[in-house]
Amino acid sequence: MNATVRVSVIALFCLTAAACAQKQAVKPAPVEAPTATAPATTSGAFTPADLATNPCLRTRVVYFDFDKSDIKSQFSDIVACHAKYLRDRPMARMTIEGNTDERGTREYNLGLGERRGNALASALEADGASASQIKVVSYGEERPVCREHNEDCWKQNRRDNIVYTAE
């Protein structure tokens, strides 16, 4: 016996509101930092081809502890290689997408995601990248890569995604 009253939802498509936004596919990435070492000081200048082949540059995610926004030391290689890329390629542009897990309120998490994005931007700038090359967007908890309600999932969602908008 199911005491329910059902109502159809009228799914009106409001075409004007369905804006086309350039969406960067979020690729699943390992939570632990890769062991690949960055050629931060040894080799020559990066080229756009390296974005697809260099193991460090191919890593575009940095993870955070709960309610924290500091860049953990395990990600310093990733910061170094992306900073070098931005130094080597002054016309390159990057958007950092800050994200949180689902705990806490959506609007507060927008702030937390931005704080995480800014933390990575600051680290890149401290390594010589120009602030004009980096844009930070916070999605808060709106773009989870994992949707279960547990820490295994949450730790994958507390992240910055690096997206190159000009190589």
């Binding site: 329910t4 009106l12 969406k23 702030g111 937390l112 931005e114």
Partner: protein, 437 residues
Amino acid sequence: MRIARHLLVLVLGLCGVLFAAQAGAQGLTVQIVNGVPSAIPVTVVPFGQQGSGPAAPVDVAQIVGMDLNRCGKFRTLPASEIVQSPTTGSEIQFATWQQLKQDYIVVGTTAYSGGVLSAHYQLWDVNKQQMLLQNTVSMQGSDLRRVAHQIADQIYQKIIGVRGAFDTRIAYITMVGLGDKANYSLVVADSDGYNPQTVVQSHEALLSPTWSPNGQEIAYVSFERGNSAIYIQNIATGARRLVSDRNGINGAPRFSPDGKKLALSLSFQGNPEIYVMDLGSGALTRLTHNLAIDTEPSWTPDGQNIIFTSDRSGKPQLYEIPASGGVPQRLTFQGQYNADVAVDYDGNKLAMVQGNGNVYRIAVMDRSTGGQETFVSPGNLDSSPSWAPNASMLLYAADEGPNGVLYAVSADGRVRQRLVLSDGDVREPAWGPYRNP
């Protein structure tokens, strides 16, 4: 609509029992999950039909009964126990209803012709055998259910002494699909979840819907441009305007009580701060100045103060600041995490999301009793409290399994009703203001 009568039977005996949502096509399921045996007993007799016209397309008496039940203050007699069918006061045999321990009885008739539904009803005190109220309510077009909601409001006001809030609307966000296939909708529906209408649809996130005081507009945050931006949209016409798309976060809009200003959180000057925008001129006044996250502003009913979330002390807590600027005062000291305040109509009750460890529940702090706090939701990830305009009930969102659902809960936390969109994630309910009849 007969099935709903079974629901009324269930509400008497079942406390805290959850019914599984039916899977399948998109639809909104309304379920009462617990009830209050001590509520005021009232019988709403099925209404008779005036004249020989077509039957009314909605069951007015049944909707009135549903409304009275779900607010937590009344308990209607199950259909199976309604042994007589009076439709006017002269037909009521009071001894019958006294024996059934009813305090009040509602009788009436409906007429439906030319698309207009008209209901005449009387409210009687069973023990005094006295008529307390009679009225005729008419509606047409898509508003037929409002006939019943307005009758329920009038009965509520007569017995409780406070204006009813059944003839109101709610807004919420739904998300269907994942990743690039996600579809977000901003939906407006009746306060009981019926008549849902999608007013905005986007492939990018929509959040933080909030009503203008006159109920004609909704402000919300949309990511359709890639970053957060705030829009104000007219519900009836669909016309909308971009209010803020500055660099950084454009979030947490809330109309001032007079509708002339918008409080919001913007980070274009470095980190999220509380601002007030004059909606006429677009001029911004910055209220907060620090390195913390300041967001989720909400006005006090007199428009004099703004209560907001800030993590300036480490974790998010609620603070209050004069709307013209000043020194913020911290309001919350219980719980590790307090955020997303909803202020009731008289400013006494502050509903908020309170987090302790991994448990987030809706807490209500009563400022008139020295800040005493009670929980009105069971957790674990409850969010987005929103008061009915008469503060008789709250809406909030909860995570159950993969999807979010909405609950309406009586202000004392004793009656909860679940509104489920069976095919998707429902979130961020916002209860609209009173409607003009």
